[in-house]
């Protein structure tokens, strides 16, 4: 059986596990748990009433948190010409066309987000086997296939997060760091929940948001009461 750490077990004793707490209290609880030796990421998990096997109930996209997520992400851009210059100016880690496609195909994946201009997608498509399993394949749905590379690069660099519903109908996303104030975290969480609520597929039946849980990297989860 999995062994839990002393800190985890202590944290577990501080609250009623199955009782949903109002958002502020839940955030306060997560912040109140003993901290690890680094600035932990605060995460949200939402269990949704959708069937992920059905394509018309698939929820995926990208979201920019109003208060950021407290970390800069490395972005590469598949583009050439003026768009490549614009991407470089916006602060992309690497910019290139077929040469960059070859580099990634050879196994270089030390970046968080890949953005491509539509014209390059015929080459980038060949990277499916490398980027697909890591969830880094550019798609128009998540805003990573776009001609406006400047905006895309700056947004994703600042912490725009891609999300998609997993096989258990859950959506995961980081909402900030433990060092954030409760107000900032609340703003991020509320914005994300609203975004997911707005993305409700028409085919979804029954309760849409079944459960919301907040946790930090090394803490237990705290149930959040959602109206």
């Amino acid at each position: 059986m999995r062994r839990r750490s002393k800190r985890y077990n202590e944290a577990f004793g501080k609250y009623e596990r199955n009782t949903p707490l109002p958002l502020d209290e839940a955030l306060g609880m997560v912040k109140q748990f003993d901290a690890a030796k680094f600035d932990e990421t605060v995460e949200i998990v939402m269990c949704l009433g959708v069937d992920p096997k059905k394509s018309d109930q698939m929820i995926r996209g990208a979201f920019s948190f109003p208060k950021g997520i407290g970390q800069e992400r490395s972005v590469i851009v598949f583009a050439d010409g003026d768009q490549a210059d614009a991407a470089k100016a916006a602060g992309a880690l690497e910019v290139g066309g077929e040469d960059l496609v070859k580099k990634v195909a050879d196994g270089w994946t030390e970046f968080d987000v890949a953005i491509a201009v539509p014209r390059m997608m015929r080459f980038v498509g060949k990277l499916g086997k490398v980027l697909g399993p890591q969830g880094k394949m550019p798609t128009p749905k998540s805003g990573t296939v776009t001609d406006d590379v400047t905006t895309a690069v700056s947004e994703f660099k600042a912490g725009k997060v891609e999300f998609r519903v997993d096989s258990g109908a859950n959506v995961h996303a980081p909402v900030g760091k433990k060092s954030f104030s409760v107000e900032d975290l609340r703003a991020n969480v509320e914005a994300f929940i609203e975004h997911i609520r707005a993305a409700k597929p028409t085919a979804a039946k029954g309760t849409y948001i079944k459960k919301v849980v907040l946790s930090s990297t090394m803490s237990p989860g705290v149930l959040v009461a959602v109206a």
Binding site: G128, G132, T139, P140
Partner: protein
């Protein structure tokens, strides 16, 4: 609600002539009194047979079968050759429908069926064939490639649409496991013993065992809810059978397998379905437990039958005596009672065993077979080279080796069906070969079983042919079955019957026990033991080998063939000893390596500790140390100079003091030099 407890699970009483479609509610609401028999039915089962009847070629193959398969169950289906096991399987797969009764499948049930002789599409390589279950994914791959091709020439508007299409296809591809299927195919093939060098080989060049493995791998890749295997151990070598046993024991979904290999059944199944006289009886446990339960049941049934027969005789006697007397009313009552009595049947003693005798055509020459320098390859793969075999009259030799190592090919060369690349095969004088082909290619599929035998003995009357066939358990209309419709066991029996009729003094058999049921195997064993001629036989049936052969030709799979003097058990012992010795040597080597590594790391640790100690002792940095040494050396030189001066010479006290100072400075220098040495 009419629901009662019975034997295993809940029981409902459906109405006579059950409604269609069957629903649980209809059963619950059904009229109990109208029910002809007790029907086990559980809504949680994957598949349920409810009073299923099926006739094939005028024979009642299924006669009121009631049974069900639950999720996760591993069931062994046993029964005599030709009793209808395969028919039952084909019903489960949806290939056949019942004549009456109900076959209830769980909604969207995925059944994976491996027939006795897997049909593989020719013209493909092994790899392409293994990818067939993923045709949908491969179609998406092709479509993505087309979209990307079109992107090269598209204008802006078209490009936007193509990018959307590409993304949608990518998403479908990801969701359907597009990025995982290639490693999965590779793992399944290699797990079943098909090496990477097999991947490019055309499927038609695969051996029987390899085709079976390929079929099984494809089936497992589809991850069916119910795995149906028809005699999966046929053609598999001993290692592959062990692998399959392990695999099935860890397999999560339900499995139904037909097998005549009791050892395989003992190791794999948790329930036995016995198919006899058109019915299916379920027993909990593996094959050995089934045998015990079956024996107990038969004993019990025999006892009840005997008791009932005694009672019937007593009643009949009473009726006979009193029907015309004073007690006529009583006698009439008892007669009515007797008429109404539910009769207990005597336990089924089966249809009897086959009788096989291979006709011996008389003594051959002393030298039966001489094979010299034989070589055969497929592509760049050598099956065997420089093969030497000599068989003398009365030799009984078994051939063993992994699938695809050339065992059947050797027999086909002896029979003249294939030509070797090098070497010669010399058959002795007066040698009559009786060849049994494991895939029964010697049988014409368009003929009936009767005709297949008839052509061997045209001079016989129909009655004689039928009598002969009866000895091989072909009864009544079964003899007119087409070879193409016959079961694997029936084909095996007719092929053996042909050999028995032809007459021979040298039997060349390729896996003769495949498809045969247990009792037929034993009969074949006996026939082979009694055969006075020479025998050369490929088999993976270790019991058959143990009882019938005295020597073994072992194909190692790398082109080499080793002759072993002894039966299979002796060979297995030797092999186990050899493997144990190899394992011991390997363990010892590993232990030596571990000891060496330990010693080395201990040495290194000592060295590191010494270094740490030395470092801890250091008082100066390297540069400081060098300066200090130089200074000390200069001081020693100046003391020397002073001591050689006249002043010191004249003053003994001074000289003594200088001597002491020199000594202490030298010590100081020695210490500094020691420290210097620690810097390496």
């Amino acid at each position: 609600m009419s629901r009662r407890k019975a034997g295993w699970g809940s029981v409902w009483y459906p109405p006579r002539g059950p409604p269609d479609p069957v629903t649980l509610l209809q059963y619950v609401a059904a009229d109990v009194s109208a029910c002809p028999r007790r029907i086990p039915f559980s809504p949680m089962s994957l598949i349920s047979f409810i009073d299923v009847h099926k006739d094939l070629g005028g024979k009642k193959v299924l006669d009121g079968v009631t049974a069900e398969i639950h999720d996760g169950e591993r069931i062994g289906l046993i029964g005599r050759n030709g009793c209808g096991k395969t028919t039952l399987l084909r019903m489960i797969t949806g290939e056949l429908e019942p004549d009456s009764g109900q076959l209830h499948r769980k909604k969207s049930l995925r059944v994976g069926y491996l027939p006795q002789q897997p049909v593989v599409r020719e013209g493909l390589t092994t790899w392409e064939s293994a990818l067939e279950p993923f045709e949908e994914l491969r179609a998406i791959e092709r479509e993505i490639a087309e979209v990307e091709e079109a992107m090269g020439t598209a204008d802006d508007d078209a490009l936007a649409a193509l990018v959307e299409r590409q993304a949608a296809l990518q998403e479908r591809y990801t969701d359907a496991g597009g990025y995982q299927y290639v490693p999965r195919v590779e793992a399944a093939l290699t797990g079943l013993g098909l090496r990477t060098e097999h991947f490019d080989r055309p499927v038609e060049k695969l051996s029987g065992g390899e085709k079976n493995r390929l079929g099984l791998a494809k089936l497992l890749l589809q991850e069916p809810d119910l795995l149906v295997l028809d005699e999966p151990t046929n053609y598999l070598d001993i290692h592959a059978v062990r692998w399959l046993e392990e695999f099935l024991r860890g397999y999560k979904s339900a499995t139904l397998l037909v097998s005549h290999d009791r050892y395989f059944l003992d190791r794999t199944v948790i329930k036995i379905w016995e198919h006899r006289t058109g019915l299916v009886d379920a027993y909990k446990g593996n094959y050995s437990e089934f045998e015990q339960q079956r024996e107990e049941r038969d004993e019990r049934q025999q006892k009840e039958f005997d008791e009932q027969q005694r009672e019937i005789a007593r009643q009949k006697e009473f009726i006979r005596k009193n029907i015309a007397g004073q007690k006529t009313k009583q006698a009439q009552g008892r007669r009515k009672q007797l008429e109404r009595m539910e009769r207990i049947e005597a336990p089924d003693s089966g249809e009897g065993d086959a009788r096989i005798v291979f006709e011996y055509t008389g003594r051959s020459g002393n030298d039966v077979l001489r094979v010299k320098g034989l070589q055969k390859s497929f592509g760049d793969r050598t099956l065997f080279r420089d093969l030497e075999v000599e068989l003398a009259l009365g030799d009984r030799v078994g051939i063993i080796g992994a699938n695809g190592t050339g065992k059947s090919t050797l027999l086909r060369i002896l029979e003249g069906m294939e030509t070797p690349e090098e070497g010669e095969v010399k058959v002795g004088s007066n040698v009559q070969i009786g060849y049994y082909d494991q895939e029964h290619r010697t049988l014409d599929r368009s003929k009936t079983l009767f005709e297949s035998l008839r052509e061997i003995v045209p001079q016989w009357s129909d009655l004689e042919v039928r009598n002969f066939m009866a000895a091989f358990l072909f009864r009544e209309d079964e003899v007119f079955k087409n070879v193409s419709d016959a079961s694997g066991g029936e084909r095996a029996r007719i092929a053996l019957a042909r050999i028995a009729l032809t007459g021979s003094n040298f039997l060349v058999f390729d896996e003769p026990t495949n498809h045969l049921d247990l009792s037929s195997r034993q009969v074949l064993e006996q026939a082979l033991i009694e055969f006075p001629g020479t025998l050369l036989m490929v088999s993976h049936d270790r019991y058959l080998l143990d009882r019938t052969v005295e020597k073994l030709l072992v194909f190692d799979g790398n082109g080499g063939v080793e002759l072993f003097l002894g039966n299979y058990s002796r060979y297995a012992e030797k092999l186990a000893e050899r493997e144990a010795a190899e394992r011991r040597a390997e363990d010892e080597r590993k232990q030596r390596e571990r000891d060496d590594a330990k010693r080395k790391s201990a040495k290194e640790a000592d060295a590191r500790a010494a270094e740490r100690k030395a470092k801890a002792k250091r008082k100066f940095s390297y540069e400081e140390l060098e300066t200090k040494i130089m200074e000390t050396e200069e001081r020693i030189e100046s003391i020397h100079a002073e001591m050689s001066g006249e002043e010191a010479y004249r003053d003994p006290e001074r000289m003594k003091a200088l001597g002491e100072k020199l000594e202490s400075t030298r010590n100081e220098l020695a210490e500094l030099e020691d420290e210097w040495a620690t810097w390496g």
